[in-house]
């Protein structure tokens, strides 16, 4: 079996007393798209930032092709940054308003490929602009002159110009209209095919994640509660949280008898010291769930679930 591109082990992020990411383990392979879903506050973005060492985790390791990113010296880390790129939700806010689009795309080249001549750099920028379906003459424009979709294309161009191994998309299409969203996703897929990069796709849009991802990670209050292939997860979610999340998505046309929506959490995130963090909202909780936190265990090949009742056939939510 191929070695993973990225190996995340026991990753933990603390903000004071609060555990934002709780001992997360997963692998990411080259060319793979992995979706990361969960509600706001689940720790999705914090996990992504910790992977890229944009914040310092309390413990754990992140191995990129054998190198521990969390322990390597700053100079080594800086050199690795060209392999690790991220694009954000708000495409306009991610661009410097005082920099032309061309300069924004050229900046990573200036840093990581200083040997390039100015003409060669301009050529790379023009080629990249065309690659993201914009025109080379846009290089002289400023971000405020562009639409949201165009700004997100610039964000992608800037991230992809160095041909990274890993691209993190943090709600990268969430602020876009549905007709533009598809164009941006297809662009990401094309670039992935050309460059073979792995994509960690963070989104609260479950339908997008289902279609795009090879595998999906479901996160609840800092912990991974289910990991499975997209196919398996959406066909038959196992963890009660995954089930509730899927049931909450409105369908077209609407389905009759949709289950009661999940109640708001009553356990404060920082008060969970033992037991399953989801037990206060879980219709299937047992006394055991209040005392022992279920570990993420493999219940079938490639399918991991953190639930005491994952081996049972649970009645559908009603």
């Amino acid at each position: 079996m191929k070695a993973p591109l990225l190996q995340v082990r026991n990753l933990r992020v603390e903000f004071g007393q609060q555990l934002a990411v709780r001992d997360v383990n997963f692998d990411l392979f080259a060319g793979e798209t992995v979706g990361l879903v969960g509600e706001s506050g689940a720790g999705k973005s914090t996990l992504a930032r910790a992977l890229l060492r944009l914040l310092q985790p309390a413990q754990g390791s992140v191995q990129l092709a054998g190198l521990d990113l969390l322990k390597c010296p700053p100079a080594v880390m800086r050199a690795q940054r060209r392999n690790l790129q991220i694009i954000f939700q708000d495409p306009l806010a991610s661009l410097n308003p005082r920099m032309t689009v061309g300069d924004a795309i050229a900046e990573p080249l200036l840093i990581f490929e200083p040997e390039l001549t100015a003409a060669a750099r301009r050529g790379r920028v023009a080629a990249m602009l065309e690659r993201v379906s914009l025109t080379a003459d846009m290089a002289s424009r400023y971000p405020h002159e562009l639409s949201g979709g165009q700004c997100q294309r610039i964000g992608i161009a800037r991230a992809a110009v160095l041909r990274p191994n890993l691209l993190v998309c943090d709600e990268a299409v969430s602020s876009l209209d549905v007709s533009i969203q598809g164009q941006i996703i297809n662009l990401l897929l094309d670039l992935q095919q050309e460059m073979g990069m792995a994509i960690l796709f963070i989104s609260h849009n479950l339908a997008v994640v289902r279609n795009l991802s090879h595998r999906v990670l479901v996160m609840y209050l800092g912990k991974l509660v289910e990991v499975a292939s997209s196919e398996a997860l959406f066909a038959a979610p196992v963890h009660p949280y995954t089930r509730a999340l899927l049931a909450a998505v409105p369908r077209i046309p609407p389905v009759a008898g949709a289950p009661e929506p999940l109640a708001e959490a009553s356990l404060a995130a920082d008060s969970i010291t033992h037991g399953c963090a989801f037990r206060d909202r879980c219709p299937y909780a047992l006394p055991l769930c209040a005392s022992t936190d279920p570990p993420l265990s493999e219940i079938a090949a490639g399918r991991w679930v953190a639930c005491h009742r994952s081996h049972e056939t649970l009645n559908p939510l009603s």
Binding site: D177, G182, A207, N211, R251, E260, P261
Partner: protein
């Protein structure tokens, strides 16, 4: 029967450095008592401006013409005093961002009670009691304590429920909900949708639900209006429109919505091009540049919204 809201030939324009920007062009619609009408369209399609006009909340520089009547009374050009008798009580609106919709330095209780004091003439004490009951109705746990709190102490989902409670206090005849769930998670979205459904059942109010999310609209609306570039391009019952869209734009939009069931495909269906940018010159049919069915006629003769009252479409070559 008098429509709860009736809009006739509404035009909203803004002066723009490259000319005039048409936010809404010749829009006409009716919302009947107790009806839930969904309004879909992409950013900039004019769906919010149309309803801001009804609330008298348009920017001062907007040039407005046409007519908007609420229960038969003209709202456009009405004096603020006349508007204030209905808006906030019988005609209410909630917005996407529940944080900026609440006053940050006033307690929740004060903000809620104020509505009843000024509109229903209740004493502050009575109003607080009613506010507490309303918070209970929108399923806010421990409402007594919440009344004493400030907006920042509440989560986003809870703030949106406070906004909803506020808009329901005077038993409105029409609630305008502008992207009420867009800032929320799917689980919170499901809760708010459930509350809107319950509120309609209890009060019999009409609901105008504005969203770019067809799923949300599909879950609540009896009838759906589709807007594109400031125009209403299709108007049909929800069941009909979702299954048999007639305007090519509606059909394309539905195709673009990623699905949770059926075959998976990483590549998404797309709609080529992008919606017209502010100030961009429009063709006779503004959708023509992106439309696979467009012909010469679409570029010279503006299509008008036509058909029976059950199903209307503004297209020279609608799908059958």
């Amino acid at each position: 029967m008098v429509a709860t809201l009736s809009v006739d030939n509404l035009n909203i324009r803004f002066a723009h450095r490259t000319g005039t920007l048409e936010a809404v062009a010749g829009a006409s619609l009716r919302i009947e008592p107790q009806e839930c009408v969904g309004i879909v369209g992409e950013s900039g399609s004019g769906k919010t401006q149309l309803f801001l006009a009804a609330m008298g909340l348009l920017a001062g520089v907007a040039q407005v013409s046409g007519s908007i009547r609420f229960a038969g009374n003209e709202l456009l050009g009405a004096k603020a005093a006349a508007l204030n008798r209905v808006r906030g009580s019988k005609l209410t609106m909630i917005f996407q961002d529940p944080m900026t919709s609440l006053t940050p330095h006033l307690r929740i209780g004060t903000q809620l009670a104020e509505v009843l004091v000024s509109h229903a003439g209740l004493s502050w004490k009575e109003a607080r009691g009613a506010a507490e009951r309303m918070l209970e109705q929108v399923r806010i746990p421990d409402p007594k304590r919440r009344l004493q709190q400030y907006p920042y102490e509440l989560s986003g989902g809870m703030r949106q429920r406070v906004m909803l409670a506020m808009s329901l206090l005077c038993k409105p005849d029409l609630l305008i909900a502008d992207e009420p769930t867009t800032a929320l998670d799917v689980t919170l979205q499901a809760q708010i949708m459930e509350l809107l459904r319950a509120a309609r059942g209890e009060t019999g109010m009409a609901l105008a639900l504005i969203s770019h999310d067809l799923g949300v609209i599909a879950g609540l609306a009896d009838r759906i209006l589709v807007m594109y570039a400031g125009r209403i391009v299709e108007n049909a019952s929800a069941a009909e429109l979702l299954l048999r869209p007639r305007h090519p734009y509606t059909a394309e939009l539905l195709k673009c919505v990623p699905r949770l069931s059926g075959p998976r495909s990483a590549r998404m269906p797309t709609l080529a091009g992008q919606p017209p940018q502010p100030g961009e010159a429009l063709q006779a049919c503004p959708f023509a540049p992106r439309c696979s069915r467009a012909a010469d006629r679409c570029r010279v003769q503006p299509p008008t919204l036509a058909g029976s009252s059950m199903s209307q479409v503004a297209c020279h070559f609608p799908l059958s």
